[in-house]
């Protein structure tokens, strides 16, 4: 009887028949500590060597603020563009059968596989004022390469597969009958897409957004070739960190890194909360 009462008390984990909780959780914690937590706490540790006043000075330095704003701003814009076009690409790949579909499908993954520097160099040469696309845009007064717009384009390039690959499986799983049901109820094609299909895939779109955004914030290789890296204008935060490192200003570099870390974590945490809410909202419970 006493054991029964004890068994009903508070538990660190819910009783389950799946064995190995201790082992797997232990491994997970050790692994995360080794790979992620220790290096990240190193960042915090090194930046603390500065002392609060110095840290604040670096954080509020005009160049740092501009770099952070460009990094997060461009990433946000790129992720939003990717959400729209990535969803469209996923839709086309799932819903239509056309010659070359598999090639397009494979091409979507290329930004994953390509060294980002290669992507940066080719984007820069294409969008440069004398490049293929750049020379078409130049007469219109649009400069892409070596401006913040160039940064956005590079970030769109590297972020696209994240949205496509998260939305695609959900679209594939989507029941045709749901659309037919909407049609029998009198909904036009447009209404079906807006009110039935898009809300249905919203959680996956949000995940894709978060991934593309996170990837874009940390991107370095492809951006520095196309950005022009003009301080205060098209200099991204990761580049500023590298510049500080090259000056052997390790504390300054880690200070910027710590700020990026905090902002990124806050944003991803917020996105996760929205996601959890939307999953409940869109009926993915139980």
């Amino acid at each position: 009887m006493t054991t029964l009462v004890a068994a009903q008390g508070w538990h660190f984990r819910k009783p389950s028949v799946i064995p190995g909780f201790g082992l797997t959780l232990g491994f997970t914690v050790a692994y995360l500590t080794l790979i992620i937590l220790i290096p990240l706490s190193g960042v915090a540790w090194r930046s603390m060597e500065l002392g609060w006043a110095e840290f604040w000075a670096i954080a509020t330095d005009e160049r740092t603020v501009r770099a952070l704003r460009i990094s997060f701003g461009a990433s946000l814009i790129a992720a939003m563009v990717n959400v729209v076009f990535g969803t469209l690409v996923a839709w086309v790949l799932v819903r239509y059968r056309f010659p070359g579909r598999r090639i397009v499908d494979a091409a979507v993954d290329l930004p994953f596989a390509l060294p980002t520097a290669v992507a940066g160099i080719s984007l820069a040469s294409i969008y440069a004022p004398n490049g293929w696309v750049g020379q078409l845009l130049a007469p219109l007064g649009i400069k892409v390469a070596f401006t913040p717009l160039g940064i956005v384009i590079a970030l769109i390039f590297i972020g696209l597969p994240f949205v496509v690959r998260t939305v695609q499986p959900l679209l594939e799983d989507m029941d045709r009958e749901v659309e037919e049901a909407a049609a029998t109820l009198g909904a036009s094609r447009f209404q079906t897409i807006c009110r039935v299909i898009l809300p249905g895939i919203a959680p996956a779109v949000l995940t894709g957004f978060a991934l593309a955004f996170a990837r874009a914030v940390g991107e370095y290789g492809s951006v520095i070739f196309i950005a022009g890296n003009i301080p205060y204008v098209s200099e991204i935060a990761p580049l500023l960190i590298v510049i500080r490192l090259e000056e052997f200003n390790y504390a300054g570099a880690t200070a910027i890194a710590a700020i990026m870390l905090v902002i990124s974590f806050a944003m991803l945490f917020a996105i996760n909360l929205i996601q959890a809410w939307s999953r409940r909202r869109f009926g993915y419970v139980g």
């Binding site: 049901a181 909407a182 029998t184 009198g186 909904a187 993915y284």
Partner: protein, 374 residues
């Protein structure tokens, strides 16, 4: 709303799914499309809904040719086997969807939509679940919501595609009765597809038996069970046993044995004798009966099902006996079908049937059926 299907054919990529099907559905009728998988019953239902376009033929709603109307314009309520509810909407939003997507001119107010949803939830006996999501409901509840959603648009025809197919047996029986009640109360012309003959016979005013893209027979439960017009219908509806027999001078022979059944106006030659396993009488043996060796005997619910090997070719037939029947323990049983039906062995549709007890009523019926089928 009368629905009239006129010589409709449907092909999918050259593969024919329906051949020249015609069917008249009367207003307010509850009709079952019954058939094995691949018989074209779902295709026919989807054609009525407008989810498919016929390759040939026309579908009329009342006097109006609906063949070229889109799904949206046809205003049909369609219930899918797997519910097809919108998972990101609450129950009330699901039911109100059809009203919400109407053009502004004839869209009810939000409050009115909500009121209608509650009303329909009362009708399907799910009051109080307005704000649940589909994932929080059981299968039976989801299907009720799907029906409420289909009824919300005041459909001209209600179409249900295997509505109870994904549910377990008990819920299915309960929903069946409940669907009949709803139909009687609302009076919608209703067509439902099923492969479950019990469901079709119990629920429908008329049953449409389909096979291989064709309609085999249309009739009441009594018609298709007692007066099947083809070997397929006889075999598909209810239990049946078949014996290959020979007609000679109006007498039926099983190999070299006269089995005590006489027919009129049937040409000599091979034929198939169909009868219901439970509709047989046991005899003492001797002439004029079918005799067989018992090979298996199984208790099935209230009866005992006995498998017999009959004649030199060891044809197997099944008969059903009352559990306490003394003969059931014997190793050899002689019997004769009380009611039977004879179809030409080549698979034609001409048929005749009879009872052998000579009672006037039944004999008349046999005559009539003979006349009707020839």
């Amino acid at each position: 709303m009368d629905v009239s299907i006129r010589s409709v054919s449907k092909e999918f990529d050259g593969y024919p799914a329906l051949h020249d099907v015609s069917l008249d559905i009367r207003s307010g009728e509850l009709i079952a499309l019954l058939g094995p998988s691949g018989s074209g019953k779902t295709t026919l239902l989807r054609l009525i809904a407008g989810l498919e376009r016929p390759t040939a033929g026309a579908i009329f709603f009342g006097d109006e040719d609906a063949s070229h109307r889109t799904v949206q314009e046809r205003n049909v309520g369609f219930v899918f086997q797997h519910y097809a509810l919108f998972r990101h909407m609450t129950v009330a939003e699901n039911i109100g969807f059809g009203l919400k997507v109407r053009p502004a001119a004839n869209r009810p107010s939000k409050r009115e939509i909500r009121r209608r949803a509650s009303e329909l939830l009362d009708l399907v006996q799910l009051s109080g679940l307005e704000d649940r999501y589909p994932s929080q409901l059981s299968g039976g509840q989801r299907q009720r919501v799907a029906l409420a959603r289909a009824l919300a648009i005041e459909p001209r025809v209600l179409l249900l595609d295997e509505p109870f197919g994904a549910l377990d047996a008990q819920v299915r029986r309960e929903l069946r009765r409940w669907l009949r009640e709803i139909h009687d109360r609302t009076g919608h012309t209703t067509v439902f597809v099923t492969h479950d003959q019990e469901e079709a016979l119990e629920l429908a005013d008329r049953v449409v038996v389909m096979s291989r893209g064709r309609i085999e027979q249309v009739g009441s439960a009594d018609d298709v069970y007692d007066r099947p017009n083809s070997p397929f219908v006889f075999g598909f509806i209810g239990d049946s046993s078949v014996l290959p027999v020979r007609v000679e001078n109006g007498k039926l022979w099983l190999q070299d044995r006269f089995i005590g059944i006489e027919v009129r106006d049937v040409p000599d030659g091979p034929a198939s004798l169909y009868f219901r396993p439970h509709d047989v009488e046991l005899l003492d043996g001797g002439g004029g009966c079918i005799a067989g060796t018992v090979t298996a005997s199984r208790r099935v619910a209230g009866t005992r099902r006995v498998e017999l090997e009959v004649g030199g070719a060891r044809e197997r037939v099944e008969i059903e006996l009352p559990v306490d029947h003394p003969e059931a323990a014997n190793s050899r049983i002689s019997f004769r079908p009380r009611r039977w039906k004879l179809f030409p062995a080549s698979g034609g549709t001409a048929a005749l049937s009879a009872t052998d007890d000579g009672s006037a009523g039944k004999a008349d019926e046999a005559e009539l059926m003979l006349a009707a089928s020839l």
